[in-house]
Symmetry: C2
Amino acid sequence: MGKQFKQLKLRNIEITDELFGEYVKKVSEKIISHQWKILNDQLDDAEPTYCIQNFRIAAQKESGQRKGVVFQDTDLYKWLEAVAYCLAAGKGKEYEPLADEVIDLIAMAQEGDGYLNTYYTVIAPQKKWSNLVEGHELYTSGHMIEAAVAYYQATKKEKFLNIAKKNADLICKVFGVKEGQMRGYPGHQEIELALVKLYRITGCRPYLETANYFIEERGKTPNYFVNEIEARGGYEFFSEFDDYDLEYSQAHIEPIRQTKAEGHAVREMYMCAAMADLAEELENKELSNTCSTIWDNLVNRRMYITGGIGSSGFRERFTTDYDLPNNTNYSETCASIGLMMFGQRMASVTKNAKYYDTVERALYNTVLAGINIEGDRYFYVNPLEVVPEFCTEHTYMDHVKPIRQKWFSVSCCPTNVARTIASLGQYIYAQDEEALYIHLFISSKAKTVIEDNEIEVNMKSKLLQNGCITIQVHATKSTSIKIRRPHYAVDEILWVNGEKAKVSVEKGYLIIHIGAGSSEIKIDFGVKAKWIAANKNVREDAGKVALMKGPLVYCLEEVDNEKYLSEVYVEANANVVEVEPMKALVGNIPTLSFEGIRIKNKHLDENQLYGVSGLEKVGTNLQAIPYCLWNNRGEGEMTIWQKARV
Amino acid sequence: MGKQFKQLKLRNIEITDELFGEYVKKVSEKIISHQWKILNDQLDDAEPTYCIQNFRIAAQKESGQRKGVVFQDTDLYKWLEAVAYCLAAGKGKEYEPLADEVIDLIAMAQEGDGYLNTYYTVIAPQKKWSNLVEGHELYTSGHMIEAAVAYYQATKKEKFLNIAKKNADLICKVFGVKEGQMRGYPGHQEIELALVKLYRITGCRPYLETANYFIEERGKTPNYFVNEIEARGGYEFFSEFDDYDLEYSQAHIEPIRQTKAEGHAVREMYMCAAMADLAEELENKELSNTCSTIWDNLVNRRMYITGGIGSSGFRERFTTDYDLPNNTNYSETCASIGLMMFGQRMASVTKNAKYYDTVERALYNTVLAGINIEGDRYFYVNPLEVVPEFCTEHTYMDHVKPIRQKWFSVSCCPTNVARTIASLGQYIYAQDEEALYIHLFISSKAKTVIEDNEIEVNMKSKLLQNGCITIQVHATKSTSIKIRRPHYAVDEILWVNGEKAKVSVEKGYLIIHIGAGSSEIKIDFGVKAKWIAANKNVREDAGKVALMKGPLVYCLEEVDNEKYLSEVYVEANANVVEVEPMKALVGNIPTLSFEGIRIKNKHLDENQLYGVSGLEKVGTNLQAIPYCLWNNRGEGEMTIWQKARV
């Protein structure tokens, strides 16, 4: 095990990026206040969340019925986490009083022993910890703890952290292998990574040990969940648990013996992220090997080109190797956020930059697609191909929304996107005792101190335009900068202070040594639009190509290319021309243009379902835009994979 | 309304066909005895049915628990119906004592008031008629009545018919609009068409009136089902009724106002068949127009090229226009049998031959695919494209079995296929006062009397080989023969007694007048293999072609063409060569051979999921066999729609 990556402080990172800067700005200027209204049910045309109201009821400040899903509290916690990241970055100061006030409310909703959950406190106090499979108590606590840690880091105020510690202390007391403790573990993982965060900030080892207990105990025989369900006699909250299988929540065998990405995708990602954390903290090589094995299965067999995961629309879950349908998939936004979290931690455990190829893939495509440019509408499900008229009841696309929604009845994604964008800096940079690491090429300014060396960085990225990155560094002493060499780099050219430099590549990093004072690193990654194909086992993509440029997956939209995108073919290596970015979109990213054909049937009349084939081809000019920006110009067809003519 | 078609008596039809003859023979020689063993749980390696045992328990000849699904009795009834058709055709005499014995058992299981249903009699006598949505009592009675009518027609024995009449009398008493009657109707339609059959054989008008009542009452507001479910507080038998919608059982509006094929496909077909019957019997033009409207929606928007219907794998149901996925569909064998029934009746109501194009499509493709050549394994689900490794838990193909099964826990299809094949003659011929009708070109001998004119026919069909049909007719008087002109006929040539004849075509029939004595009609329909395309709204088939010859849809199988059929492309109008029939298959049907290409990716290594495209083409020779014969040579990939290269 190497030395741990340390995060740079968010307050020391300023995102100046043409693309991400837009969204980061939206978080503090619009999204947080917009979501606050939703949490308070102040938006007439969004589904009520009852979120704040539930806390008021639990705090006995209001009477009435506690409503919403059992884990409704987490919307507030993720919102608070996003607020914390904004405050840390010196933005959204106006939300701090709101946050403090709602933290007071949370404190009042907490029970004397530290228990905190509006559902169980109000509705079923006698049933606490009795339905770990579905009840989401530990999951909810996990999000609370993450928010509290972030809020403490941002504000140094201890009130929320103390709520979290009190709750975590209770959990550490209730769960474990000692006599009198419950041998249970969460139905939806999340508490594990939260307890690691709490351990890291408090140094209090029981948090780490309980996190590790939850992973070690999970899936053991006799199976806790089997016994719990048997005792209860069936599902209580969610009808999908009617035919619950242990794989769904990765409780079929102990996690350390798992080899594939199985079950509910978000559960799997949160668990794997925690496992990587524990492997690092406990220097558990076996656990880190398990993480690698699952990772390899995930990214080489079960991931979409967009970094979307969980290909089944039925249970938001993984299915089997290479089952990657483009129009019926789930690919939940939260699952790709989980993939970013897992990848970030794998890079930390292994000190290998390759994991950030996937973090970047998920971020630039599925995660960013999860929110519209305006910042007030969201995708929960992220298909790679949409024909709106089939996204209707009873088809296999009935879970797919062809336009982003204001909110959802299970609304994990909107606040998750907000907290991820608000904390984006942590994915761009990292440091250890020896070097500053640059993982993502998102324009930003950062400063940090490494072993008394004060380092300032100003990265100007044209990755999405010409593939060139300029990094101005000022350091008080000489230092190493380790820059991730992305998977799409081709014959990259690197200049240090204007001179071409030959640098070594180690574990995916370009290693650059610079002296004290100011230096300028410039890299041309040779980024060009490329036609990508999928493994032949992915039957859905056979004979198809997708257009990528750098980390961006491109797509065709009806608004630019007319209806019936299913008729469209491209020559297998069609020449791609970069044209002006579309005005209605953001990020100043070139539109990609190329010639294609449409195959039409000249014999069939409109009302005929089948008839003698008379296929003929008609030339057409096609325009592709980044997938992450689709559906910002109205409802219509969209496709990423295009049929290739060879 | 024209005069009704009359069925020819099955005893007067002998199937001599190279293809269907094989299956007809199998029914009496093997299938009936095989299924009898299954109904008696005498096959060790098939799922137990408890079917006969349930009747023994209901008849108080045995104690124990009544088991199986609530409509388990229908397996026996459909078996008896198949036995009846065999006996009518002078075959399977050895089953008559078995049938008589089991009819005695049925009589003993019937209650004093005529009630007959092993589930409710044994398990829940106090709940009779209380769960029409799920309970299948009327559905079960319907199959019993159909069997009893067939058995009476075959044997002239009245015992079973009397059981049926007694049960039907009870139903007519219980249901209706008079005071004291229940205003309910069946959750699964079937009783309606059975009561029409019973009316036709008994002349007893209340049977017809109650059948009509069930159609007229259905879907009225206030809705019977809504009230029933509310009173019960949820589903009782089938978890899919947890989120039951009225469209599922076509109870959302009155059938006469329905315009689209909606809901569960078998329910819809059985209802439509009954509606067409009633339109004919009651000369109800409005009802027949409704049938036409639903039919048009069905065959022009919601039917597979194979005559498969019900494109959703989730609820065996219709979804939306043009939603016809090839690998995740249901296309239940029973639904296509229902489509044959509906089409047969529409032809009778309208005297238009076009409906038999669809009857033939369903029969030659999906229905025949429902059973293996050996006659002991069945498909319930009939996909158009299969990759076995994806037909697994959690994928959207998890309901698809890549090989035929011995039996099913819900096993409607095997006995349904048996009774359909055993009664095949009724689909080939019909008559009215003026003419003999030939609807299908299945080699057979038939005789009948039309208004004192004794007519004998010997049809020798080479439809699947060279498209030529020879029909020898002997009639005591001059007569008209109306021969369906199938949709695939091209510039057909017709000879009567060796002379080329020009004949008129009316409503899809070639009308041939022959004199008394012997005549020979010969028709060359100009049948050739043709590449067929689908409507552009069927996105799944865009840019694809399917090979048909006459009524047969062809497919590629892995065993003949290697794995990864998804790589295969054909030139849009590839020249098709007919080669020798495959020895392992039946029917002496030519294999179709043509050149294609495989598109392979030369850049990607086996473990890489995505990579820069390097598609290249490799020539390949392809062999296609009739879809109905697929999966008779082991498990493997199969596809009907092939990618076209234009």
